[in-house]
Structure formats: structure tokens, C-alpha cells
């Protein structure tokens, strides 16, 4: 990849996506504390200079805990992306196999099939809304019939309902002998994978960092920042205050990033762009439907080799 030379400094000073605003309280309080200790030291309380306090919370232990915290938060972020990706490829496979396997003898058949292919997109959109604890939105309305929208208003788990609709359609095709038992099983397996995607996302939302852990980390961060001015006041005098602020910025910032990315299904700059991914799946499925409707051109494209090419 081209190294983005121009952007390096631009990104470094992109304060909007940074966590500076999230940690202003903690940094401010650390600096107040540093100010007080420096003030007292300046007025002759030399007992406030205690460099040995550096050993209170060993830097290595704090560092390792912070990185462990970042790491686990990142794993959740990354698993969120993996599941989003899995939803897309499962949706693509399910729609392709439905399109290829279920025969459409009449125009009504084709339209019904297209409507159910769109339910695959609807599943992803409903999942997105479900994970954000939101209800049916415009994007979702555009792929559903009014009756379906109405029904979704009253269910607790919208995407799960959508899988049941798709399942019902497949069952109907099977009981009408449009598809055989093997195809029914294969399509059901893909539907199962969609339910897996949904349930894994719900798990990421439901499973917090163990609370005991978050609390202990905060205790250690607070103790560490409290001990800092005592170590530095003798050497740095009034400069203690900005330096403590810098350290607090570094440390609380790492913790704040963990908080920021550990729930990746939200709306802000660091989250998974679920709206865009839904549109992508939507356009893939619309392409598939479109290719099918201009059936004649498809025929030639499906079998595009004429004998003289060989």
C-alpha cells in the first residue's frame, strides 16, 4: 500500500475522531491535584516530594493491564466486523442459491421470489436496528411490504422474525415440491448461519468486560495519577502540572479507546458502518434480481461461449 504521507499529520491532528473530549474530566482533575501538591510543596512542605512512590503502581503492570484492556476491546471490535462480513457472504450465498434453486414458472413466482430475496437484505437491516435498540426505519421500510412493517412493530426480535418468514417460504416451496429435501436442507443451513450471525452479535452486546476488571483498572489508574506529582514536584516545580496532564492524557486515553471500540454497533466515527454494509448487500441482491429479469440477456451471458471461440 502507498504510505499515506500527506495524511499522517492530518490524521494526527484530527481531534474529532480522537478521544480527547471523552477524558477531559479525568485529565482536568489530575492537573488540579498536581496544582495543589505543587502549591503546598512551594510553601515549604518538602515532604510532598517522594520520588520512591514511583514504585507504588509499577509502570509495567499498569501498562500490561491497559494493553490487555485495549486488546480485548479490539477483539470485540474485530469480531463485530467478522460477523458483519459473514452476514454479507451468507446473504449473498442464500440469495444466489434461492435464485438458482427455486424455479419460477410464472411472473408471480418471480415476483414472490424477488420479494423473499429482499427479505435477506431486510434481515441485515433489521439486525442493525435490533443491535442499536432502534425500530423499523426508512431503509427497512423500502424492502418490506407495509404488512410486514406493521408486524415487525410488535415483535421483540425483528431479525429473528425475518428468518422465520424466509423459513416459512422455503417450507412452502418444499411442501409444494418445488425444491427437494437436499436443497431444502442446504438453504436451511444458510438460514441457520444468518441466525448464528445475529446471535453472535447479540452476545457481543450482552457480554461486558468483567466489571471487577474495569473497576480494578480504574483504581490503579487513579492511584498512579495521584502518586505522579509527588514523584516529580521536586524536579519540575510548576512544570509538574502540564506533565501530569500529559501522562493522564496518555493513560486515560488508552482506557477511553477501549470503551469506545468495545461496542462496535453504534453510530459514531469509530464504529462499524452498518448502514453502508446493508446498502452493499442490498445492491448485490438487486443486481442478482435484475440479472434474472432480463432473462434473455442472462441466457447468453450464462452460456457465452460460441464454438468458434474454442
Amino acid at each position: 500500500m502507498e504510505f499515506e504521507r500527506n495524511n499522517w499529520f492530518q490524521l494526527a491532528f484530527n481531534f474529532k475522531s480522537s478521544v480527547i473530549l471523552n477524558i477531559k474530566t479525568q485529565v482536568f482533575l489530575s492537573m488540579v491535584m498536581a496544582f495543589l501538591i505543587t502549591l503546598l510543596y512551594k510553601h515549604g512542605y518538602s515532604g510532598f516530594s517522594q520520588p520512591i512512590l514511583a514504585g507504588l503502581i509499577p509502570g509495567i503492570i499498569l501498562g500490561l493491564l491497559l494493553v490487555f484492556r485495549t486488546n480485548t476491546a479490539y477483539e470485540r471490535f474485530w469480531e463485530g466486523w467478522q460477523i458483519a462480513g459473514m452476514t454479507i457472504f451468507t446473504g449473498r450465498n442464500l440469495s444466489r442459491q434461492m435464485w438458482m434453486t427455486i424455479p419460477d414458472r410464472t411472473l408471480a413466482d418471480s415476483q414472490e421470489k424477488a420479494a423473499y430475496l429482499r427479505l435477506v437484505t431486510a434481515f441485515f437491516m433489521a439486525m442493525k436496528q435490533h443491535l442499536r435498540r432502534a425500530r423499523v426505519d426508512e431503509q427497512l421500510k423500502s424492502v418490506l411490504s407495509p404488512e410486514q412493517c406493521l408486524e415487525l412493530q410488535y415483535v421483540t426480535n425483528m431479525p429473528l422474525k425475518v428468518t422465520q418468514w424466509i423459513g416459512g417460504y422455503l417450507t412452502k416451496q418444499y411442501s409444494q415440491k418445488q425444491i427437494d429435501s437436499i436443497q431444502f436442507a442446504a438453504l436451511n443451513r444458510l438460514l441457520d448461519q444468518l441466525v448464528e450471525c445475529l446471535s453472535r452479535c447479540e452476545r457481543i452486546l450482552a457480554a461486558p468486560m468483567p466489571k471487577a476488571y474495569s473497576i480494578h483498572l480504574r483504581h490503579l489508574l487513579i492511584l498512579y495519577c495521584l502518586a505522579l506529582p509527588f514523584q516529580m514536584v521536586k524536579d519540575l516545580q510548576w512544570w509538574t502540572i502540564p506533565v501530569v496532564g500529559g501522562v493522564a492524557f496518555a493513560l486515560f486515553g488508552i482506557e477511553a479507546i477501549g470503551l469506545e471500540i468495545e461496542n462496535p454497533f453504534g453510530y459514531d466515527a469509530n464504529d462499524i458502518p452498518l448502514d453502508r454494509l446493508c446498502q452493499k448487500l442490498d445492491s448485490d441482491i438487486e443486481d442478482l434480481i435484475a440479472a434474472g429479469t432480463k432473462q434473455d440477456s442472462l441466457e447468453t451471458s450464462v452460456n457465452p461461449f460460441s464454438a468458434q471461440d474454442m
Copy 2:
């Protein structure tokens, strides 16, 4: 995700979920030791000041071991959540496929099928009780018949028994030619996955941290805390006692968190909320059953597209 500004300090001072109470003995003993050494030093035994002892247990090694310990405990915690999530999606898939695949010609058929769908929930509830070494509880009684409750009293592995009941029902449907060989295989594969969930949870319970490892870590922690007052007494005088207490709090706290989360199937604040997850699966399956009984409204929802929509 919105950064939870208000809660940051609230959580930091939520002592109920913290591990402070778990480690009070170790912290207290460390401070007693620090007190004794400071006392002796103050009475003129200057040989008790040995800053070089900082090298006894290198901080980096202790830190890495502690984090390794936290890490492996967290992995168990996280795998517990993964399996709980897998139980839910397998339960959803099994119930949906049973509902869609097994035909119900009479009302009695429907009722029998519903009863067996509830056994899927019962499996999860029985697994929860089994992992907590508890017996049939009220939640479980609500989805089982009295005869089943009675039978579960006498088996060693309750959830495994439930899978055998479900398996027996599937076999009966197959031998009565209600489902064909392929569907039987597909349903059995989902049942196999439930057994996998159960067995993996049992493994997490059965597999401890290697004992040699826990013991060695404790030896190093004790040596480290014993060496601390010798390093600090000269600089900190009586302040040695709270500072040693702080270090002991930091270190033993990390170990205690490991202990707290390495068995995630219990009842306390940091464990997986299995009761809530069971209710979730229960409500999903009840929704499925309810959707099936108002068959007429389902018919319209399964096929909700009228020609003029297209």
C-alpha cells in the same frame, strides 16, 4: 458508543463488584509485615533497608505472569459466553427447523411438537442447573411435564437426558415417515451441537489452571510483597505501611480477578447471566409457537406480497 461520562467515576467507586473484599487478608498481612519492618528500622536496625532487593523478583516477570494469568482466566470467561451464545443460536435453529419440518396434521400433533420445542429451552435450563451443580428448579419445572421432572431427579446428567428425549421424538417422527432421512440427519446435527455446547461447558468447569502454575505465582507474589518494605523503609519511613498496602492491593487484586472470572457459570455479579439468557431463548421459542397457532394470520405474513406492490 457514547462514552459513559457520568458512569466513569460511579463505576470506579462501585465497591460491590470490585474484588477489594476478596483480598483483605492478603493486604492486611502485607501491611502488618511492613509495620514490623518499619518498627525495627526505626529502632535502629538500619540493615533492614535494602533497596537492592528490588531485583529479587523482577517486576517485569511478575507483571507478565499476572497478565498471563488474567488472560487465561478471561479466555475461559469469554469461551463461556461463546458457548452460551452458541446454545442460543443452536436452540433457535433446532426449534425453527423442527417447527418447519415436522408436519402437524392434528391439534394433538401440534401440542406434542410444542412440548418438544419447549424441551429445547429445557435443555438450556437443565444445562445451567447442571453446571451449577443444582437440581430441577422452578424455571425448569415450568417447561417440563411432572413425569419428566421426576425422571430428571434420578439422572446424573440432566441436560444429556433432555437431548435423548428430543432424539427419541425425532426418531419416532422418522420411523413414522413424518420426516425423511435428510431432515432427520439435519435435525440430529443440530442436536449434536447442543451436546457439544454442554460438553464444552463441562470441560471449562473440569479443567483448572495448572496447579503448579497457581502455586508458583502465589510464591512469587508473597516473595515480592515481603521484599517491598525493605526497599522503601529508608525513604518512606512510616508511609511504608500504606504504600505496601497499595501495592499489595494492586497485585493481589489482579490475581483475585483471575480467580473470580475463571469459572463463569456461578451466581455472582461478574458471571454470565444464564437465567436471563434462558428466558431469552424461552421467549424466542414461545414466539415461534405462538406464530404457528394463529395459523391464519401467519399465512398472510408468510406470503404478504400482493401483486400491486410489485
Copy 3:
């Protein structure tokens, strides 16, 4: 989980499961070396005090290598447990599916089927013995016929032989049209998984830590312990000897734990309790067979819902 308050100190002083005895030679030699250097220093060879030698093997590098070593050993330990768990759930699934799928029209059929279900347990027991490089033992004899015991004496890979017996039985059922092609495939897939469990365990046994790695780690450990007394002798005088002993205990102990747990299939306190796990699978399968023989009571338990419950 309840924090085991009482046990914390008990376990800390449980020397039997600790690695203290395994590393006594290394610790002793380190202390002899420390004694010699202190002796020479005391007799005026002040050149033996070289604090700068602390830089010889940077603590961070040694620490990271030791933890990497512990980590990889722990992964083997943990994978061993995972495979043991997989063997159990595959065994449960294979036995349940065999029991449910293969019809038993006569008592002889039932007895033959029960005998082959017991071969699933026998597989696990044979695998245990195979991994320990032992032969047929009493536990294994209890689930095999004398002829089978005899035959196992002469094969190199006992558990693989058992899978061939089970495979032979399945093939016979298939060729006699007791099970159809799909069921045969499903049962064979579970049998394949048992072979996978076996082969993965064999791999854990066969794949060592890369030798170059173990050797280099030992070289660094030796260099580090040799350099220690030079650093400390000036400050600690005769106390150098116990302190060097303490450091040697900490470091060699970590390496010894790695050695202890990297082969988890043995007989000692830190290994996987394979005997107990075999009994567990055995009792699960015996329960299954017992439930089948009291067929009449099973009939009621399989279909336990009476109309008035609904």
C-alpha cells in the same frame, strides 16, 4: 464463583503440586556460585562487584521469553483438554445416533448394538493407554470381549483398531440395509471425528517445543543467574546467597512449569485426569443403554405429555 478464601494460603503452601522439587539442582548450583563470589569478594577481590552486569541479559527479554515459553506450553495443555472434551461429545453423539438409528428387532440385535456402543468408550480408553504408551489395562478389559483384548495386544495403534471395528459394524448394518446411505454417512462423519481426536493428541505428543528454542532459553537463564551475584554482592554481602536462590527459584520455576504441563497426557497431579473422563463417558453410555432396555418406561418418557397437560 465464590472466592476461595480459606484455600488461598493452603494452595500457596501445597508443595506437593509445586515445582520446587524439580528445580532443586539448578537453585542449589546458583547458590553455590553466589557463595563462591561472595567469598572471593569478602577476601578483597572487589573486582567481583560489577552492577553494570545487570545489562548482560536484559530482564525484559528474559521475562518475555519465559512467558512465551509458559504460554506455548499452556496452549498444548489447553488443546489437550479441548480434544478430551471433543472426544467426549463426539462419543456421546455417536452413541446416541447409533442407538437411535440402528434398529434392533431381536434381543441379539440389542446386545450386539450395546456391545458396539461400549466400543465407543473403549476407543477413549484405548486412546488414553496409547497416549501413555501403555497396553490394555483392566478398565479397557471391562468393556471389551476377550477376543478383542487379545487382538489389541498385537496392533501398534489400539484406538485406530477400535474405530475400524466400529466402522465394520456400521458397514455391515449398511450392507444389510438396516441404515440408509445418509445415516451411514452421518455416523461415519462422527467416527471420522474420533480419528481426528486421536490424531491431534498424537500430534501434541510428537511435536516438541523447537529444540533450538529450549536450549537458547536455558543458556540465557544460566547467563542471567551467573551475572546476578556480581551485581548484588556489594550491597547484600552474605545475603547475596539467599537472594540469588530466590531469583533462581522464580526463574527456573517458570521454565519447569512449562516442562510440566507441555505434555498433558501423563499420570501426575498437573495432567488431564483421563481416567475420570473415560469413566464419565462410560457412565453416559451405560445410562443410554439402560434407558433403552427398560423400553416400556422409555416409551412413556419419550412421549410423556398427556392431552390434559396442554
Copy 4:
């Protein structure tokens, strides 16, 4: 493996593949800063010597973050390779199974089949171009018919289109009863895997490092490099400038490598050689086609054992 003795130093001084050029701005600015501070210090502003600033950004925290960054970038690089490998083996399996399963009764059948086997290669080539945001190239044209090339010009997702062509061909074979339902399902499953490969690659491209994280790391790097000259100026005088340059080179270099490898689908020296891998799959499939056309020689090679060999 033979240790590459000769190459060790060659590679160490292979500046072309190194990241030196990527970070020249950052290193230069650090040295300018160091120059200014040394200049001021030399003119008597001794307040510019502040060794205590070493504590501003603890080295351990910076180090752990940098390595975490390298690590996650490397995981993306490695996952990219895994998917490329998976594309190859899925392509090999799909082409082998198509070749073996689909009967070719006439020469036209064989030619059509060969053309569709080449579409498997075309999928990989189209995926390569798609990931590089490029269009149909010469390599791709060589395995496609002109009509197909034309059609690919107008689709947003070229490789997905190719899977639809293959799927259409399989459906045609199935509806003409050339392959049965089971074979159709098996081939579709392999096609699903190709779509999985594609979607996972797209995910790697779409999922960035969380921005908040990259920004925070850069802030810490800048703070660290700003603090450096204050710490060193007293001891090193004018030597401060090259030493600060060296440190900046080490640190920014690690970050630059992360940037370099986190998107592995590009054109430069450190990326996956997708062109070469495409050719490999191409030659494997051409070999398969060639082996089929000299059918007679294949017959003998497929059944090469004469009775007297045994």
C-alpha cells in the same frame, strides 16, 4: 531450514524494501526540534535539561502500544494470505469436482466445461482486480470470452458476477439432470466458499484500525519524541541530534510497517503476490483440462495397475 548466512547482512541493508523513505519527514522534524533545544541549551538556557521528562510517556506503554499495532496489522496481513490460500484450494477442489462430476458426452460439452473451469481462475483474477479497485486487465481477458469481458465492465462487483455465471452453469446441468441434487449441493457449497473468500477480503479492506487508536498512538509518539531532547541534552550536547534521529527512526519505523502491511492486497514489495498466485491456480486448472483431453492416456494413468504388479 538452512540459515541464510550470506543474506543476513544483504537483507539488513536492502533499503528498497525498508520503510526508511516513508518516515523521513517525521525523523527530520524530530531532529530539527532536537537541534533547536540543543541550541538554546548551549546558549545558557539550562532549564531545557529535564531528565525527569523520561516519565512523561512511560517507555513500556509506548512499546506495548506499538507492538499491539504491529500485531493487529500483521494479523490482517496473515489473514489475507490465509484467504488467498483458501481461494486456491477451493478453486482446485471446485474445478476437480466439476471435471469429475459433470459428464461430457460430446466435444462441445467438454469445451463448455473447460470454459467454465477457466471461470474459476477468472474468479480469482477478478477478485484481485476488485480488491485493487482496478478493472478487467489482460490476465483476466485471457480466460474470458469477449462478451464476458464486456459484461464485467458494467458491474460493480466483478468476482461476484463470475460466481453467478458458474452458479448458472451448475443450475443448467442440474435442471438437465447431468448432475443430481447431492452433487449440485456439493458444488454449490464450494461456490459458497469462493464467495466467502471474496467477502472476507472485502472486509479486510473495509475494516480499518479504529481511528481513535491510530490518532492516540501518534499523539503519544509525538509527545515522546518532543520530550526526548530535554532528557538527553545535558549528557549528549550536540550528539543529541543524531540520537534523537535514531530513536525517531526506530519508533516511527514500527508504526510505518504497520501501515505498510495492514492492507496486503496492493502492488508493492511487502504485499501478497496475487498475480503469481493467480497464475498458479491457472496452471493447476490448465493441467487438469489437459489431462482430460488426452483422455486415452488418462485412462491408463487412472488405472495404472496391471495384475502382475501385485
Copy 5:
């Protein structure tokens, strides 16, 4: 596992498997450099003593990079073992299922089947040779017919050719209705797994550590070793030379181990013993064939339970 008390020191001094010889140049050059600096310092150039240079390459950063390097190399080594293990269990399963599923009515059938079972071993042997960029060897000749050996001489990918032979045999059995569609699919899936093993091994060979990474690590190692004598010369005088040698040995040694194990398919002491593993699979398959030929004794062993045992 018994702790190998006797071997601890033996292995520590097993220089043959160590990497000492691989890094002699680097260690020697470091010592020459140390010699020059000490010489100049001794002649009065006291400016050569610069302890502050310890900050040039922070030890923690170098350490973390070295361990990251070891880690990724070890993962390749370990994945190599995993694939070797997977090849074995897939080979065992494929051969068992072929043996059980494909009927042999005549002696010629049996001999043909045995010959194709041996091709499964041949696949592993051919893969071994292919990964080592070697051609047909004696081991491979022993399981192939002369015609096959000849044909393998002219193909680029020997093991892939072998899978095509096996696939051809399976297709013939299927088209002659010896096996049905389900069995054909199951056997093909196992064959697919063999191709997966092959392709994953090829990927390990093809995917290097990112070059930029290896180069940067070497630059840092060289800078670190160059800075060392400046830091130590004042304290250690002439002892600087062996101490610098020791550090160079520790650091370059870790890098050399990474190089040594990152390609695990070679011939030396630290590589996977592929020859031995091939023999193991060979003997497993020969046992299977042997058990089949003494058909009568097998019959009794397959059905070894007489009624009175029960």
C-alpha cells in the same frame, strides 16, 4: 510428565541443535566493535563513554519486537504441525471409508482398491517432496507403480496429481454404481481436505515475514549492539568485550531461532519429521489392508460377541 531431571543440563549443552553456529559472524563483529571502542577509551578518548545511549533503542521495544518475531515464526512452525496432523487423520479417514464403502467382489477389485489406498500415503509422500522442492524418491517409488512414477516426473505439482488419480478412481466407482451419490460426496469431501492440507502448506512456504519488518528489526539490533560498548566501557573496561559478546549472543540468537523455525518443512533437527510421519500413515494403511485380506479372521473380529458373553 516426569520432569527430565537428567536431561536438563544435557540439553542445555547440546550445541548441535542450538543456533550458536548460525550467529557467529554477528557476535564476532559486535565484539570487534567493542574492542575498538574500549581501545580508544583506554587511550584517553573519554568521550566514548556515554551511558545515556542506553535510551537509544529502548530495551522494552527491542524485546517486544524480538518476541513478536519469535511468536510469528512459532505460529508457522505450529501450523505446519497441525497440517501434518490433519493430513494424517484425513488420510486415515479417507482410507477407512474407501475400504469400507467400495465393494470388492473379485480379487482384482481388492488389489485395485489396495493400490488406491496406497495412493493416499503416496499423496503425503509426494507432498513432502513437493514442499522440499525435491522429486520422486525411493519412499515414494515403493508405493507407486512405475508408470505413475514416470508420470509424476513431468508434472509441476506432484501431490495434486495424486489427488486427481484418487478422484478419477472414485468417479469410476461412482459411474459404475459401486458407490452411490452420497458416498461419492463424502469421499470427495475427504479428498478436498487433502487438497486443503497441501495448499495450506504451500501457503506457509510462500508467505514470508513481511520484509520491511525483518529489515527494521535488524536495523534496531545493529543500532542496539553498536550503542552497547559506549554505555559499558567506563565500568567494565576490557570486560566490555565478552559482555557485549554475551548480549549479542542473546539477541541475535533469538532472531536466528525465528529464522530457523519459520520454515518447518526442511531436513534439519528443528523441523517437522515428515519422513517419520509418512511412515506412520503408511503403516496405518498397510494394517488396514492386511486386516481386510485375512477376511475370515476379520469377520470374527468385526462380530466378536457371542451370546453367552452378554
